[in-house]
Point group: C2
Chain length 300, copies 2
DNA sequence: TTCGCTCATAAGACCAGCTTATGAGGCGAT
DNA sequence: ATCGCCTCATAAGCTGGTCTTATGAGCGAA
């Protein structure tokens, strides 16, 4: 169970990626600011821990073995997730002295913002960003109080006093475990009526996804009593994966499960389960400077 | 640059997730097999490191702060990637005594297999799996030599001597940075002729994706000289993200970049850039036992 | 009051990873 | 040939972080 003892720590994984890039333990060590013996011993203990040779050493450098490059690919995913964590955490700590103060809804802060911040850091390394996360009205409050320069919200309308622009759409997907009957409905989409009368695994009443679902299905008799009502997106996902029943979740929350086939998207016809993602700012104060840079990234 | 000093280690992140689940430092500690003071001090040093309060402590338990639950969500991504790493690495180490010996092509081993192994472990905890990765003919060799029970390959045909079943499709996506002109072609798909005459960022000659692209475009005058020819999928992705030009990559390799909008999918009409993903086994030896369990997971 | 839960603090043990110093192997230029 | 430069490996010693055990303090219910 304790993952820590079977997975090398982040430093070791970074080192492995550096070895892959440079083809040399010594140069990898230099990149990470450690000595060559440290790198050598660290790679060796990683190999001992995993029970697999990762690197072919020669007097002219080091290349990854077959197993090594597979391990490196898996390691890259961990390191990328760690980079997103770092970008987010750094913004969360950043305070008043930041050049760009962002207020964002939870969904956007969780799934999209870290990626934007990584890109922004690559393009403008000197832009210090601070982040406050909250619901739509909290975001509006921060902007109107002058405590944030740029906001991001999801939902159907722009909050009062703000201007905004749509930067994308958060589609809600109906998903089911691959074994579920609905997973085989590729050619025969589920109808809105069918969706409305089927008990689903859902977030608790009041959540954003639930609101969208409620209003989209109101003309079809409304949502039926949920199969399960859970407190977090994670819990809903876990229930759906384990086959409890169909669930409705943000596209952003399920991309990984879909591409690894732990969940299947169920096609639904004739109903738009979608909400806008918007960048917002105080009325008549178009973003300039760093805020404009970030805004540019979010639309491409 | 050294990520390690700004991101808590995996043990700390696991602890944070456990605290979120249990609402108590002590119970989280027990789950991870450490003492309560160890957990207390570890969470505290994580808060110091990040510069953010993560949990609200009270005599009746601990709950995450707002920032804490955002951090926990980001942490979950890291831990999930680590679980995939662990599942894969464990299979890579496993040897002859394994109950299920899998041979898989690189793409499948990299992107899909870890997820399957996690699911398999949840359903049949006692199935020890071993993994050998290689190209299609290496997979065939292992199966025919009786050194593997089940194989996975991508490509256009089933290798000689094997039976198989299609378990899915790997679509090749044309992708470009959001700023690229092709990123705005949503309503006016790129034509095959246009794709054929445009210099692209590609893997080197001989790679699987390149073969598919070559054969799909052969009737349209064939692929033009590449804009860049790079040695790894990662390098191609990086070039595309930085705006070097359009690239063609497996759907599996770009889902994350697409959902975070670092890349945009370019619609292409009239040409099927797709290859089958197949499970394969020696002629007339339908998978049974653990191999059959795994096969079931891959199709749903 | 006492029990049971919560978390915090303190003191000491242990170990992983670092550094410096050194050696050995291969290749190419002088 | 041999010197110089690159590669990686090994050994000895320091250090710091994380663990443990032992203890205390706060809050609520029986």
């Amino acid at each position: 169970m304790p993952l820590t003892h079977r997975v090398p720590d982040l430093g070791a994984l970074e080192l492995l990626l550096a070895v892959a890039r440079h083809g040399s333990l010594g140069r990898a060590a230099r990149e990470l600011g450690i000595t060559q013996p440290a790198a050598s011993s660290r790679v060796r203990s990683m190999e001992r821990q995993l029970g697999v040779a990762l690197v072919d050493r020669s007097p002219r450098g080091s290349r990854l073995t077959e197993a090594g490059s597979l391990v490196t690919d898996w390691a890259r995913r961990i390191v990328e997730a760690a980079e997103a964590f770092d970008a987010g955490a750094q913004a969360l700590r950043g305070r008043r002295d930041s050049r760009l103060r962002v207020a964002a809804s939870m969904t956007i802060a969780e799934y999209l913002l870290p990626g934007w911040l990584i890109t922004l850091r690559a393009q403008r390394p000197d832009t210090a960003v601070s982040l406050i996360a909250g619901n739509s009205s909290a975001v509006a409050d921060r902007l109107l109080a002058g405590e944030a320069d740029l906001g991001f919200v999801e939902g159907l309308a722009v909050p009062d006093g703000l201007d905004g622009t749509v930067i994308g759409h958060d589609r809600l997907f109906v998903v089911a475990a691959p074994g579920h009957a609905w997973a085989r409905r590729r050619r025969a989409p589920v109808t809105p009526e069918e969706l409305a009368r089927t008990p689903l695994v859902l977030r608790e009443r009041g959540s954003g996804t639930r609101q969208v679902l409620d209003s989209a299905l109101s003309r079809y008799g409304g949502l039926s009593a949920p199969l399960m009502e859970l407190a977090s997106t994670t819990a809903v996902k876990a229930a759906a994966v384990s086959g409890a029943g169909p669930a409705v979740l943000s596209e952003l929350a399920v991309t990984e499960e879909l591409s690894s086939r732990r969940l299947t998207r169920v096609p639904v016809e004739g109903v738009a389960l979608e909400r806008d993602l918007r960048a917002v700012w105080p009325h008549a104060q178009r973003p300039v400077g760093p805020a404009r840079d970030l805004l540019g990234l979010t639309r491409g």
